[in-house]
Amino acid sequence: MARITAGVASSHVPLLGVAVDQGKDRDDYFGPIFAGYDWTREWEKQEKPDVVILVYNDHASAFDMTIVPTFAIGCGERYKSADEGWGPRPVPDVIGDPDLAWHIAQSLILDEFDMTIINEMDVDHGLTVPLSMMFGQPEAWPCKVVPLAVNVVTYPVPSGNRCWALGEAIRRAVESYPEDLNVQIWGTGGMSHQLQGPRAGLLNREWDNKFLDMLEADNDEVRHIPHIEYLRETGSEGIEMVMWLIMRGALGKKVNTLHRHYHIPCSNTAIGHIVLEPADEQAVAAE
């Protein structure tokens, strides 16, 4: 049986990818950010996940306004790094797991989550930056990836509650997959940032840390934070944090915190990173 063994959340600021690609990741500006990922890089080497379900959003790279899927799952064989206007990042192709992805897609649809299926797309910094943060610069990524793209740009975006419930359904889907796989789920984006309008540059250390506390808690209160609170407190782009709730929902009620890191600023954004493991084996069976 496949199992979700851990959840990881991380910001996916494009500038972090630039820092890695240009070898600036240990300079005075980026050093303190990357130091917060050293623990996780070592841990990932020991954990050796077979597959990562990587929850992220596309930033006008694979999708334009022609089609706006709320939840979309990548069922393809492989994905190339997208050209976001500065040339594609020089990172390995992302290798999919079509069998597992289709199994999850089918299970989710039967579980009443009406997923969009993607067979071909390029993946942008939302997906490749977290891979670089967790794995550095290998010749090939050390695991397969199932991309799960969420609309967090055009409103209404999905509610925190819905994201959490999707995470729960993903866990049920993974646990009904016969192959013995070590699966991690990652939620990416955030934390506080605003990239538009006269209020641009807003950061909120206090609220971000409260959100991290809520993720660590043995309850699901965090799923009920309304969109307006993210918008007021964390800037217009802080809403990306609803994607972390898909990760958190997949871990069950109780979690252990393995690692936590917070740093301000990275360009326009507050960097947050947390590693959690499920502590409640019965969470799904009890549904």
Binding site: G197, P198, L202, L231
Partner: protein
């Protein structure tokens, strides 16, 4: 699974207008700015970037964009473009066409010069104090 009552869409949208200095990318804005955003996306292709740079006005005239929208694009007036339904992730294709970093382009929407904006970010960013609600003033 917990069930909450469905939120009323009108109340949900009305609250967005109470956030200072912010244009939430609602369906209404997405509709209004559709051609502005699709124009920006066309700059993903090198050949289109070249044609645009050679004659910006002529390239814009190929699109179903209002005169006001074209003026705002030519002037790189990003706050005006947000009002006209532009979204920053799409407009970013124009930043990169201009060779501008994301942060520098973002700073043009604020009261600060780029060096001042960078300084604010290094000092912890813009405080949420007084920036959460127009009506509430908190």
């Amino acid at each position: 699974m917990s069930k909450k009552p469905t939120q009323n869409i009108h109340e949900y949208l009305a609250e967005f207008e109470d956030i200072p200095g912010t244009r939430v990318y609602t369906a209404a804005r997405a509709r209004k700015g559709y051609h502005i955003n699709q124009f920006a996306m066309s700059l993903m292709k090198a050949e289109n970037r070249e044609r645009f740079k050679a004659d910006e006005k002529a390239y814009l005239d190929e699109w179903d964009i209002s005169d006001e929208g074209k003026e705002a694009l030519l002037a790189r007036d990003y706050n005006r473009l947000l009002d006209l339904g532009g979204n920053v992730y799409f407009l970013a294709k124009l930043f990169s066409t201009d060779g501008l970093s994301f942060a520098e382009a973002v700073s043009t929407m604020t009261e600060y010069t780029f060096p001042e904006y960078r300084e604010m970010m290094l000092n912890g960013g813009r405080s949420p104090e007084g920036n959460r609600s127009i009506k509430g003033g908190y």
